[in-house]
């Protein structure tokens, strides 16, 4: 079986996990959470606790007459009881942000996808484009082969609109690390507020 470890960079988005593993935190895929937030006096990097829902609601991004990029992606690190900012998770030119480590070969190219639930059948949350993937507010890009460039737009992530994590080069022939960057951009004057828990998922195969 091929296993996947997901890690986030919390120090320096110019270094990869192979050379600088200490800059990364492996995500506990059962207990940790990724939280996109504007941040606040109670919701910030290394705050030493995991904010409650009231604190998180108060730190939500505000819909504006101009498009708003959600300022932070945080890892709610359950084992450390701490909130860590995922460094470089933005439309900036940041390459080593989300790391997907496979411990063996795959039969097809792994993909990053976004769905409403863990049945991976619908993408109707507003943040996922309200049923129209091209309108998804999640932007994602593969950075395995290089930096994304400044002010990148990438792929609107939702449903069948997904990102090939090996830069379109196909299956992994052996163990390896793949990278992506992800951010959320709220369109100008968007009509509906939402607090949702979309499922980001990696689809892969093994033989």
């Amino acid at each position: 079986m091929t296993n996947l470890i997901v890690a986030v960079n919390v120090v320096d988005a110019t270094v990869n996990k192979a050379t600088t593993p200490a800059d990364y935190i492996d995500v506990d895929l059962v207990n940790d959470k990724l939280i996109w937030s504007a941040g606040s006096a109670a919701v910030y990097d290394n705050c030493g606790y995991i904010p409650n829902s009231t604190q998180l609601d108060a730190a939500a991004s505000i819909i504006s007459s101009v498009a708003v990029e959600v300022a932070h992606c945080f890892l709610a690190d359950n084992s450390a009881t701490n909130l860590r900012s995922v460094i470089g998770a933005s439309s900036g030119n940041n390459r080593y942000v989300f790391c997907f480590s496979f411990d063996n070969a795959t039969a097809t190219e792994p993909t990053l996808e976004a769905w409403d639930t863990n049945t991976h059948t619908t993408s109707n949350f507003h943040v996922l484009g309200n049923g129209t993937p091209a309108n998804s507010m999640f932007h994602a890009i593969c950075t395995t082969a290089g930096s994304p460039g400044a002010s990148w737009s990438g792929t609107h992530l939702a449903g069948s609109s997904k990102v090939n994590l090996n830069n379109g080069s196909g299956a992994l022939g052996a163990a390896g690390d793949l990278y992506a960057n992800i951010y959320i951009l709220i369109p100008a004057s968007y009509a509906t507020a939402e607090n949702s828990t979309p499922v980001l998922t990696v689809r892969y195969t093994y033989a």
Partner: protein, 131 residues
Amino acid sequence: MKPIPLYELILDDWTRYSGESIENPGFRKSPENGIQVFKLRLPSGDFLMLQGYDEYNFFIEAFQDISGNKEHHVSFMFLMGCKDNVVTSYRIAAKDFGQYRAGDTTIRQFPKGKEYDGKPTSGWHKGINDI
């Protein structure tokens, strides 16, 4: 009692190779000396047998959720046979999930190189197609 293998290959020299389980299918490391028959055990306990193809491929699809209500699960088994650059793909639900029941099977044909979501797959093993 010895567990029933997930699949069995009958090879060119009439030896047999068994794949252990969905978690450890072992197809990638199976012998390369030609497959005469691929016999896959379905969730129902019935068997699906393929023979006569130029090449075979077999792999498991899995999802690892990284946010939201997270889960790791296998979704489908894919058994493929290729003859004259046409891939016949058997996509079999490995368990109950979403609208699928374990064993639900979709059979489709694709040009070689577009057999999985419009893209190629790796790990093909040679078949014996003159039996």
